[in-house]
Structures are given as C-alpha cells and as structure tokens.
C-alpha cells in the first residue's frame, strides 16, 4: 500500500488519473517518481543550512516567473507568498521588470563569436538589495544569468555569490534549483500543449504492428 502524495507535474498540468497524458506518464514510472523526488530533494531537503527554505521559495518564484507567466510560475509564487509574503512581492516585481527573451549572450569560444547576441541583463538595485539582503539579491542575479544567458556563466558569477556569503554547498544547490525548475517548467508546459492537442495513443500492440 503506497501513501498517496501530491505529484507536482499533475499539479502544474491539471492532469487527473485516467487522462491520456497521465497514462503516458505512467509508462515512464522512474521519470515520474524521480522528477517528484527531485522536487522533494530541493523543497523538502535533509537540511537547509546552506540554502534556507524561504530563500529557495523566493528564488523559485523569481526564476519561474522569468521563464514564463504560466501555471508553474503561479504555483511557485503561491508557495513563496506563504513563506514570506512581503519579500515575495519584491521578488515578483523584480522578475516582471527583468523578464526578457533568451537564450542570448556572448560565447567564450572564438569560433562562436558570430553567434553572440545581446539582451537585457539584470542587476538588483540598491533598494532591492536593501529589502532582500545581499545573499538573496545575488541569488536572483545568478538565477537571471542561468535563465537567459547560461553561456555567459563564469567564475566571476560564482565569486559574486561567495562574496555575498554563499557556501560552495549552497551554490551547488542553488544551481540545481534554478536548473531543475527550467526542466520542470518545460515538462509541464510541453505536456499541457500535448494534452490539449491529444491524438490517438497507440497501445503496445499497435506499435509492434507498425514497427
């Protein structure tokens, strides 16, 4: 007997048991379970000393709002408000103001210089750093970098986090969190599109016949 738990992708897509896309997901049980385990590892961690839960909630609300104004962004905004309503409003206002299109950026690779593209960068202002603190403000800057111009990420970006008080362990988890959200938000968005344009789902037998 397994204990029923929420499944974060079900939440983000509105999938219900028996929906065609739910049936597809259950044909990949390891992906389904371990995506949920990833969410749990980041948002219900063994310990949060190096990256407190409130900061995780705020960074998640920021990063997902940068990526899309969608159900996933709403989900993380709701959770952030529950954790810290005042700072969530600042974080969401920053995200709205700093949202742009990507990926863009300059390559370090000499042969890719013709592909360099410019775009809007984000630098938390003095008032924002005051309200959020240097630690969180530097995390938002890193989340913006990874969201829009991952090709520009470099040692200087991590130096900045270290100077703002981040530990090496904390930077690893911060990088995982922003990167995981980029995955999760895209899985949810992709499956929502697939669900609304659902076609025939072949059974195993059909596939063998057509193979």
């Amino acid at each position: 007997m397994t204990i029923p738990t929420i499944d974060v992708i079900d939440e983000l897509t509105g999938l219900a048991p028996g929906d065609p896309i739910d049936a597809l997901r259950r044909r990949r049980p390891v992906t389904r379970d371990q995506l949920q385990a990833s969410f749990d590892a980041l948002f219900a961690p063994v310990d949060d000393r190096d990256f407190p839960l409130v900061e995780r909630a705020l960074v998640a609300a920021f990063a997902t709002r940068l990526t899309a104004d969608d159900e996933t962004a709403e989900f993380y905004a709701f959770r952030a408000r529950a954790a810290d309503a005042a700072r969530t409003e600042t974080v969401l206002a920053e995200a709205s103001a700093a949202a742009t299109a990507g990926p863009f950026g300059a390559y370090a690779e000499a042969g890719l210089q013709p592909e360099n593209a410019d775009g809007r960068r984000y630098e938390p202002g003095i008032r924002t750093r005051d309200v959020l603190g240097e630690r969180l403000a530097s995390a938002l800057a890193h989340a913006h970098l990874l969201t829009y111009r991952p090709r520009e990420s470099d040692a200087a970006a991590l130096d900045r986090l270290l100077e703002a008080g981040w530990s090496v362990d904390g930077i690893v988890t911060l990088s995982q969190l922003v990167s995981f959200l980029a995955f999760e938000q895209r899985v949810a968005a992709g499956l929502r599109v697939l669900a609304t344009s659902a076609g025939p789902t072949p059974t195993h037998d059909d596939q063998e016949v057509s193979a």
Partner: protein, 208 residues
C-alpha cells in the same frame, strides 16, 4: 586537471576553451572544489548512484547535495536509456544536442552529438546541426524534432500545438512526442548546471 584558487575560492585555468561546437571529446573543469574523494560517505555514494562517478570532478562537485544529484541522475538515465518503447535513442540524443546547441553548452552538445551520431549512423547530419545550428536542413523528421526542442528551450517557452502536429505528421505518436519533450526539457536542466559550476576545455586534438 588542477586549477589554482583565487582568494575567494573559484579556480582559474589556463586550458583553452574549445573553438566551437564539436563532436570531439571536450573536457570540463569545475569552478569550485569537488567534494574530496577520500571523504565520501554512504550518503554520497547513494547520490552518485554509480560508484565509478566518484572519479568525476563534475559529479563530486554535485555530490555536495547528494539527494538532488541522485534524483537528477535517475531522471536522466530513464529519459535517455529506457528505450523499451517510445522514441529511438538516437532521436532522444538529437533533442538533447539541439537544446544544448540553443543554450550554448559546448560540452553537453559534444557528448550528445556523439551519441546521436553513434545511434543514428548519421554523423553528417549531426555535424550540420553543430555547425549551422537548429535551422540546419536535416530531413523533415529530424527537423521537426529539432524545431520542437528549440521551441521548448526558448525563454519564454515557445512550444505550441503546431510543434505537436508537425511531430505527428513526421510519424511520432504521443509517447514519442512526450519523449522529445522530456529529452529537450532535461537538457535545460543539464546545460544550466554544467555551465553554472564549471567550463569546457578544448579537445586534445585542438591543442596548439
């Protein structure tokens, strides 16, 4: 490869960057100190999943958070290696390479371009993707997969019903389309992680 440490803790490397996207063996070096190999506990080994990964700087840096590394690793393996049904491995790797090409992860693109070339036996087409980018002409089925992966990789996310229809017209069923979605989406995780905590170094054959 060892780097030298600056006063605040990131490493500095002399090794050159790769010249451009390539199927050759690109190296990777961490900006921050990997967890010491001789201090790994059972919890760390659980996170690494495969004992052999303890020798990788990348995985020993990530193992500083063992639980998310473990879940990430198991998601990764299932999306790409579980081929009992669904999209052929070659085309999952194609989606991964296309996402990496768009985001600009030269290391990830090299690994998954090699896999895509190996499983498809179409190294010529994979090289076109690396050289020309996601607008390369690869034949309609691959074009449809690459276009879907690129749209899913864009921010804001640009994947829409037209991509699903094009994939269906190219012969993919919904499980296979879901595999394209997961393969491309996963590399939006992998690319950012890899680019955040280290950098690629040129393949040996590019050395001056």
């Amino acid at each position: 490869m060892t780097g030298t440490t600056t006063d605040v803790g990131t490493y500095v490397y002399d090794a050159p960057h790769p010249h451009a996207f390539t199927r050759a063996e690109v190296g990777w070096v961490p900006w921050l100190e990997p967890f010491p190999e001789d201090e790994l506990t059972d919890r760390h080994h659980e996170g690494l999943v495969d004992r052999s990964r303890a020798s990788s700087d990348y995985f020993r840096l990530l193992v500083r958070d063992p639980e998310i590394l473990r879940a990430r690793t198991l998601v990764d393996k299932d999306i790409f290696y579980n081929v009992a049904e669904g999209l052929p491995r070659a085309e999952r790797e194609l989606a991964a390479a296309a996402a990496s090409r768009v985001n600009g992860c030269v290391f990830c693109a090299s690994v998954h371009a090699r896999f895509a070339a190996h499983y498809s036996k179409r190294a010529d087409l994979v090289d076109l993707l690396l050289d020309e980018g996601v607008s390369a002409e690869l034949g309609e089925r691959w074009n449809a997969i690459v276009a879907a992966a690129a749209a899913l990789t864009a921010t804001p996310i640009a994947f829409e019903a037209g991509h699903v229809e094009r994939l269906r017209d190219a012969g993919l069923d919904d499980l296979e389309i879901s595999d394209v979605i997961h393969g491309a989406a996963f590399f939006n995780w992998a690319n950012r992680l890899m680019l955040s905590i280290g950098r690629p170094i040129a393949p040996a054959e590019e050395a001056p």
